[in-house]
Symmetry: C2
Subunit: 190 residues, 2 copies
């Protein structure tokens, strides 16, 4: 059994905490403003808007050392509808640089919250696409997702987070332009 700390109480935080609990693991949910509350999980999910990540890292860098840190963010400026990270980088790469003693995994950023809660998207089992450089960290997260009955695919090293963020950017754009719904998106068909 794992304890997964979810920082963030929004739609994604709730959906991920629900997934953790559904699989029989323990979810600890912390509001992102509660910076004085210590994290106890071995896996810590940063379920906050991208702009809030720097503050969390600043407050919790030492606490996050040695832990699996899951970045679910999409670095989007909604005013200009553009990515805010350099083209050859990613939010995940920047977080990994800021947390050199943590094992950063990119995941959940390509899943709209309702598809995590429902466990299906368009008749397909919801698939979490992940990327990371630490095989054990990825395996720990895969076990939590699989326990809840969802699928995972491994996109490779953390460098692939760039493409995961590109995919999510497209997906959000399609939903924002009402070509797909916020309960849909890209389903992984095996």
């Amino acid at each position: 059994m794992s304890t997964v700390t979810v920082i963030g109480t929004g739609n994604m935080g709730q959906a991920i905490a629900g997934l953790v609990t559904k699989g029989g693991n323990t979810a600890e949910v912390i509001a992102h403003a509660d910076t004085d509350k210590a994290v106890t999980g071995d896996i810590v999910v940063l379920a906050v808007p991208h702009a809030a990540v720097a503050e969390i890292i600043s407050a919790r860098k030492d606490q996050l050392a040695g832990k699996v840190v899951v970045d679910i963010t999409n670095p989007l400026d909604f005013a200009t509808f553009s990515l805010t990270v350099p083209a050859d980088s990613s939010a995940a790469a920047q977080i990994a640089e800021a947390l050199p003693d943590s094992k950063v995994v990119k995941a959940f950023n390509t899943n709209f919250g309702p598809t995590l809660a429902a466990g299906t998207v368009g008749g397909q089992t919801t698939t979490v696409v992940l990327a990371g450089d630490d095989a054990e960290a990825k395996a720990a997260l895969v076990a939590v997702v699989a326990a809840a009955g969802l699928k995972t695919v491994d996109a490779g090293p953390l460098a692939r987070a760039r493409e995961l963020e590109a995919l999510a950017y497209l997906q959000i754009g399609l939903a924002a332009s009402e070509q797909i719904g916020w309960t849909g998106g890209f389903a992984v068909v095996s």
Copy 2:
């Protein structure tokens, strides 16, 4: 009715020519080595490996002026399994720069050939994701795809080709690592 010239006789060229014909439009298929055969279609699909595009542009730049040119390529180096275009660019952007008098549309690069032929992927109608700067050019291609019973979504300007190529890069990586099949991939769920 449209005439669509498909340059390239491989799996993708065949699948796209089949789609054109299925919708009641006319497909003209030209092997990419047949550089002396003139294109007659108003829409020209470059259904060749990315590395072969430069040669086609060199031979046919004048013929392609004024036409809708559809770039389906993925600029992948399979030896290193990496993208061969700069991170802030795309194959489509480079083609548009080389063909300033053509209307370049990115499309089909996120669809594995069998999903175009079958018209479905994982129980969903196959969706062609496209991007381009010319609304009329996109509408012409949308009409051809819709006539065949497939769906389209519009990812926006040609600048989004970068993300379409990122999505395809992920998809090819998942298939190459046998996590999905070459008849699957990312289905668009509305």
